[in-house]
């Protein structure tokens, strides 16, 4: 299953090669493929038709990077992308191109004072342990600048759900890959962007070279329908269908674009919900602000515990998001783009 393969592949922001290779292999023959100098992967189909549409899904995941070696053989690391320090402790990881296995350990409870136990363990006190017994040995196994990713293992769980790492945003990449294998009556460029997690770095330059008439970002977003959060703060609910973005910290969806998404979902009886968080940025922020402005929308697969190695998504949400993206493309191919701003 492509989603499983993608989520188990390693691709921390700045080191997306493995994911890019899987996608290139998967999509060869489905369009013109090219890579740019920051690492974005473009798949272009039906050059010359109208309108010109760009689909974007980011390939990178949050992780860590090696910044130093301790005399004891432990590795010092810094975070790449936004990770709550508290999810790092007690996790297996892989380091560098050779995927050297390691663990992020912590002081055992027996050796901690009671006040210590109440506080979060922050990154200054977390190390990656490769089992090396000396700095020399550690330096042979891992170099400064090597990327560190959570160890993978995507599995089925519960009722039609998956648990694994990096569903943000391999879930989006898998949807984009499926769509690119199909045919739509418009000029379509699918871009698997890089470095979204560290500041939407790949999407802006991708949008600059494509300059489409319309862009749809396929993302993954928080589902917080869990104990400790009131319903109004759920952001999205697992199982309630793809989440439509009204606004995030980088982007406000034009009313006509929201209407297009809602009408399309309702016409095809696809369940949908609104993403109830207005913070956190997405590739849409950079894309919509490129050139003289690009009409953009965002749809997301709801996912619990994003930015941690144990995220949960619902396969029916994933399917429905895929159905929605297909329906939107067909709707645009038939009826054109929503008209905005006419005085």
């Amino acid at each position: 299953m492509l989603l499983k393969r993608l989520s188990e592949a390693y691709g921390v922001s700045g080191d997306e090669g493995e994911v890019r290779d899987i996608l290139s292999e998967e999509l060869v023959g489905h369009g013109e493929l090219r890579t740019d100098t920051i690492g974005n992967l473009f798949v272009h189909k039906n050059t010359g038709r109208q309108p010109r549409v760009m689909l974007a899904a980011h390939m990178d995941e949050v992780g860590l990077i090696v910044v130093g070696h301790e005399k004891s053989g432990l590795l010092r690391v810094h975070k790449v992308g936004s990770i709550d320090d508290r999810v790092l402790v007690s996790k297996p990881v892989v380091v560098g191109k050779n995927r050297v296995p390691g663990v992020i350990g912590a002081k055992p409870i027996h050796l901690q004072k009671p006040e210590e136990r109440k506080k979060a363990i922050n990154i200054e006190n977390l190390f990656v342990d490769l089992g090396a017994r000396s700095q020399d040995e550690a330096e042979k196994l891992a170099k400064i600048g090597d990327y560190v990713a959570f160890k993978a293992g995507t599995r089925e769980i519960g009722e039609n759900c998956l648990v694994g790492k990096a569903f943000d945003n391999r879930a989006g990449c898998a949807i984009l890959a499926e769509v690119l294998k199909e045919d739509y009556a418009l000029d379509l460029t699918g871009v698997f962007t890089v470095q979204e997690e560290i500041g939407l770095r790949g999407s802006g330059v991708a949008a600059y070279s494509v300059y489409p008439d319309f862009a749809l970002v396929i993302e993954t977003t928080s589902a917080s329908d869990v104990p400790g959060t009131k319903e109004a703060g759920h952001v999205t609910k697992l199982g309630a269908g793809p989440a439509l973005t009204l606004m995030d910290s980088s982007f406000i969806a034009p009313q006509q674009v929201v209407d297009l998404l809602v009408q399309t979902a309702e016409k095809h009886a696809i369940p949908y919900q609104f993403r109830r968080l207005t913070t956190a940025a997405t590739d849409a922020g950079k894309i919509s602000q490129t050139h003289a402005g690009i009409l953009t929308a965002v749809v997301s697969v709801p996912c619990r515990y994003i930015h941690s190695p144990a995220s949960i998504l619902s396969l029916s949400d994933w399917q429905n998001t895929l159905r929605l993206v297909r329906a939107i493309l067909n709707s645009i191919a038939e009826g054109g783009l929503p008209v905005c701003g006419n005085y």
Binding site: G14, R34, I38, G39, G68, R76, I198, R201
Partner: protein, 352 residues
């Protein structure tokens, strides 16, 4: 080409972000002999173009960027009694500017002091608190009407600091961030006089880096390079800061790794340093770097970017400290990189 003398002069030249004209003159005077063409864009970036020896179509376009602006102070209002209040332009720790002399560029150039209460008039609690910029002011030792005649909101001031020669090749001055980088560019251009390079070089003294890498963004948009390398300073080791977050002074230039840097550019710099036995150090940036490299990488359709840095202690204070040998070595490393640059290498930058 005397690096120490150049640094002494250029660190003295005032050039706070947005108002770089004086330091731009010093840069132009030093650089123009190495350039075929010089132009200044609308925000004040100065671009020195040096043609490469390659055939037409075989001359990769290389951008080098070092920022000429420095952090400083801007008068916001004149307090009763003739004491100008000020704000920081760029990131300044207010605790490092107290009890310092300043040079204020008003209608005339004036001397001033950022004074502090003597210890006799403070209590222990007060002395334990760091000064806040809103509480500081300049003392020009002039009556209020004189001050109001000579000083207006918007006037700029720098800490008065002459460059100091310390042990070995170490030098301490204000604005080594990033005049040291400008010196690196100069050393590089000087080295290139003795090397063959196919690539066209655009050496840019950028503006307004300290307030958001603004100059580099527009300069890169105008040059449209195939490769861009920023030259800046990076934190030098000192007690109280984790070793893995700093670099040693005097152990060579720092090559940065991480997502802001194209892996093949950092790899090539490392390869050249090893091949030519140049001392070098490595540094990792887990996200965007705090340098012009951050703007260069995402200009237009994306530019493969590198970053070479000079280790510097006490960054953003008036006693910044660096080793001149590190500066020369950085210049040499860049010159070797440029000399090796060809179209085949550039084409390889879309393969990872």
């Amino acid at each position: 080409m005397e690096v120490k003398r150049f640094l002494r002069d250029i660190c003295q030249a005032p050039g706070i972000s947005g108002y770089e004209h004086h330091v731009a003159q010093v840069v132009k005077a030093a650089f123009c002999r190495y350039a075929n063409e010089v132009r200044q864009d609308r925000l004040g970036n100065v671009v020195f173009y040096k043609k490469g020896a390659g055939e037409d179509g075989q001359r990769p376009r290389l951008l080098l960027a070092a920022h000429m602006d420095e952090i400083g102070l801007m008068v916001t209002k004149i307090e009763e009694g003739g004491f100008p209040r000020f704000a920081a332009v760029g990131g300044i720790d207010p605790r490092t500017i107290v009890a310092q002399e300043v040079i204020l560029y008003g209608r005339e150039t004036l001397a001033g002091v950022i004074g502090v209460k003597p210890p006799h008039l403070t209590d222990e609690e007060e002395r334990g608190k760091g000064h806040k910029i809103e509480d500081l002011y300049l003392d020009l030792a002039l009556p209020e009407e004189q001050v109001r005649k000579l000083v207006t909101p918007g006037d700029l001031a720098v800490i008065r600091r002459e460059a100091l020669q310390l042990a070995g090749g170490a030098m301490s001055a204000k604005a080594l961030d990033d005049r040291a980088g400008i010196a690196v560019l100069l050393c590089c251009l000087d080295e290139l006089e003795r090397l063959h390079h196919a690539a066209d070089i655009y050496a840019v003294a950028t503006v307004q880096e300290e307030v958001g890498v603004r100059g580099a963004a527009v300069a890169t948009y105008g040059v449209v390079p195939d490769v861009g390398i920023a030259v800046d300073v990076t934190h030098g080791e000192m007690p109280g800061v984790p070793e893995h977050d700093t670099s040693a002074i005097g152990k060579g230039p720092v090559i940065t790794l991480g997502p802001n840097i194209h892996p093949k550019i950092s790899a090539e710099l490392i390869r050249l340093a090893k091949e030519y036995r140049l001392p070098y150090q490595l540094d990792t940036a887990p996200g965007v770097t705090g340098t012009d490299a951050r703007a260069i990488q995402v200009t237009r359709g994306g530019i493969p970017t590198g970053l070479v840095s000079v280790p510097l202690r006490y960054m953003h204070t008036s006693v910044e400290l660096a080793e001149t040998e590190d500066i020369k070595l950085a210049g040499r490393l860049l010159a070797l990189f440029i000399a090796a640059l060809d179209t085949a290498y550039v084409e390889g930058l879309t393969c990872f």
